[in-house]
């Protein structure tokens, strides 16, 4: 791990991304636990007398059409996207990755069926399939998570299967089989851990993709419903006021951008650090 740390330090952008990503996660956790009390304003409190005010010292990000403080809403909304991203990525990794690992290790019919099914799911553009599932099961936070899960699991199945294939033919596995270990034990004790660990690197990069797709889903109305301060939804709500009150849409959109960029940079650096070809530098 010393090698990884040194490499990341050399790649300053990656480190910057990591810091911002960590700060965002910390903020999300704090807000989720502490609730709205620590915020400057109540993110749900409407105040028509204060509607559409530009950013100022009193309202850092201005107010929206219902007089709600946008800064408070952006902070309050931080845990929503984080929650969605982590749940979707971790569950996809666990379920999809396990399925792929089984497919890769056991091969034969299982592998064929799993690969065919992932082929079909992957033929759909991610957003399009998520939209279709989301509209079928209805809008909402939990439902958007489920829609994203449906779209995301095949990627992990694919990668896990490739990793499992590589491990299956390695000398390490031959030794385990020669030692007489039963298949199930081989899979759970050796194949799964070795398959799923490399997936974690991919997962870090993937968090940015889920946040991006999730925010687009919310933008078109299929995510967390108002008055929940989900960033994508806030961007949508502010569109009608763009010419007069740009801060309503632009600031939440920038928040999404910064978080996505941070996770992307960090994930990129992590991937480079684990890439054996680059390690020799």
């Amino acid at each position: 791990m010393r090698l990884t740390g040194a490499f990341l330090l050399r790649n300053k952008l990656s480190l910057a991304g990591g810091i911002i990503a960590a700060a965002y996660l910390l903020l999300a956790v704090i807000v989720a636990l502490a609730g709205e009390h620590m915020l400057p304003y109540n993110p749900y409190a409407q105040n028509f007398g204060q509607a559409l005010l530009p950013p100022s010292a009193i309202h850092l990000f201005g107010t929206d059409d219902l007089g709600r403080d946008i800064f408070s809403r952006v902070i309050a909304g931080a845990p929503i996207d984080a929650q969605i991203a982590f749940v979707v990525v971790l569950v996809s990794l666990a379920l999809g990755g396990t399925l792929g690992a089984f497919a890769g290790y056991f091969g034969g019919v299982i592998e064929d069926v799993v690969m065919r099914v992932t082929d079909v799911f992957l033929a759909f553009p991610a957003l399009v399939l998520a939209m279709a599932v989301a509209i079928a099961i209805g809008p909402g936070l939990i439902n958007s998570m489920m829609a994203l899960l449906v779209v995301w699991w095949p990627w992990y199945a694919r990668i896990a299967r490739g990793e499992a294939l590589a491990i299956k033919n390695s000398q390490y596995m031959e030794a385990a089989r020669a030692a007489g270990l039963k298949n199930i034990k081989i899979v759970t004790r050796h194949v799964l851990p070795n398959t799923l660990m490399p997936l974690l690197v991919y997962a870090t990069l993937d968090i940015s993709n889920v946040i991006l797709t999730g925010s687009i889903l919310s933008f078109i109305g299929l995510g967390a419903q108002p008055p929940q301060p989900e960033w994508g939804r806030m961007v949508f709500d502010g569109q009608d006021y763009l010419s007069g009150a740009w801060w309503m849409s632009v600031l939440p959109a920038l928040a999404i951008f910064i978080v996505v960029l941070a996770f992307s940079l960090f994930g990129d650096g992590l991937r480079d650090a684990f890439d054996p070809k680059l390690r020799r530098r």
Binding site: L13, M131, A136, F236, L242, V250, F257, V260
Partner: protein, 341 residues
């Protein structure tokens, strides 16, 4: 097998391999529209339809029959061009999609042109000046634009160049005050050129500018990154060293030899971009009120029009699958080694 015969065989194999995928796609859309949806009859009849209408719809789509029977009718309807009627607008979904498709196609073409014009030179420049500050800046810039949510680009461009500085219209595809050009293709830019209508061309171009630029900014980052990496690979090849050894001017080396071979990866990338671009187009068309399939999709979602959404899902997926197939074939044409597979 080399030559045309090998290419034909490759094409046939690829086309045949798509069929199971397409069947799977219809199975999945069928599952979403009939199994996942809590009340499919009502979803097709309309949320406020009378019980009688709901029953009629249920019978028309055989919703009381076992699933495999339903799927048979579903597939039959799809293939015969009956994609249903929208419960919200009352119009044939396929007709709507057909009507909106040229606008999206035109937007995509213009965006790809702009994105390539931006991305390829930047990628080449970054590759040639590898690891210098220009390279790092280019990489950060292209990553940044890839990570930006589509609505950010679109809203910022709309804000700056339409509201604050009134250079471009804030939406729409064409001015309502100028008569449309003669209809040849449905692509307004092409039609204006073909009919020699300068005024129409001007209106079409000025309307497509901001949406296409938004979409291009999203995707050019990918083009830059991949042009850069394929150029880097190619620049190290032996024939480049030979060209340099021959004493050719560096610029000739880059453009004549390295670039032509680096292009094969770029062609495949352009196709992969398409799926990414379609997702961005959904949001961007809505923001700029561009009358394409993307805007139709968002409007259908906002109206909870499930049949229309499923129609757009199918169209988007079919387009992506077709484009990927064409890219594979193009790659095989450009790189004969692939055909031996």
């Amino acid at each position: 097998m080399r030559g045309i015969l090998g290419l034909a065989r490759f094409c046939l194999k690829r086309v045949l391999s798509i069929i199971p995928v397409l069947i799977g796609v219809t199975l999945l859309t069928f599952a979403i529209s009939r199994v996942v949806v809590p009340d499919p009859a009502r979803a097709w009849a309309g949320l406020h339809a009378s019980q009688a209408t709901v029953e009629a719809i249920a019978n028309r789509y055989h919703l009381h029959d076992p699933l495999y029977v339903q799927y048979f009718y579903y597939l039959r309807d799809l293939l015969s061009g009956d994609w249903g009627v929208s419960p919200v607008s009352g119009q044939s979904i396929l007709e709507n999609l057909d009507g909106f498709f040229p606008a999206t196609f035109e937007l995509a073409i213009v965006s790809i042109i702009i994105a390539s014009a931006l991305g390829i030179p930047l990628g080449v420049y970054a590759a040639v000046h590898q690891d210098k500050s220009v390279d790092h800046a280019a990489r950060l810039f292209s990553l940044g634009t890839y990570c930006a949510p589509p609505f950010l680009m679109a809203l910022l461009l709309q804000l700056f160049f339409s509201y604050w500085i009134a250079l471009f219209p804030s939406g729409g595809r064409y001015s309502p005050f100028i008569p449309m050009p003669t209809h040849y293709t449905g692509l307004l830019i092409l039609d204006s050129i073909l009919s020699g209508n300068i005024e129409a061309l001007g209106s079409a171009l000025i309307h497509v500018a901001l949406p296409a630029l938004s979409l291009a900014l999203l995707t050019f980052g990918l083009i830059t990154r991949l042009t850069r990496s394929s150029m880097l690979e190619v620049l190290r090849q032996d024939y480049v060293r030979t060209a340099r050894a021959k004493g050719l001017v560096e610029r000739v080396v880059i453009f004549k030899h390295a670039l032509r071979n680096g292009m094969t990866s770029v062609v495949t990338v352009l196709a992969l971009l398409f799926a990414f671009m379609l997702s961005g187009a959904i949001v961007i068309e809505y923001i700029f009120n561009w009358p394409g399939i993307g805007r139709y999709a968002v409007q259908s979602i906002l109206a909870l029009d499930l049949p229309a959404v499923m129609g757009t899902t199918l169209v988007f997926t079919l387009v992506v699958v077709t484009v990927n197939l064409l890219a594979d074939i193009a790659y095989a044409i450009l790189d004969p080694r692939i055909r031996l597979d």
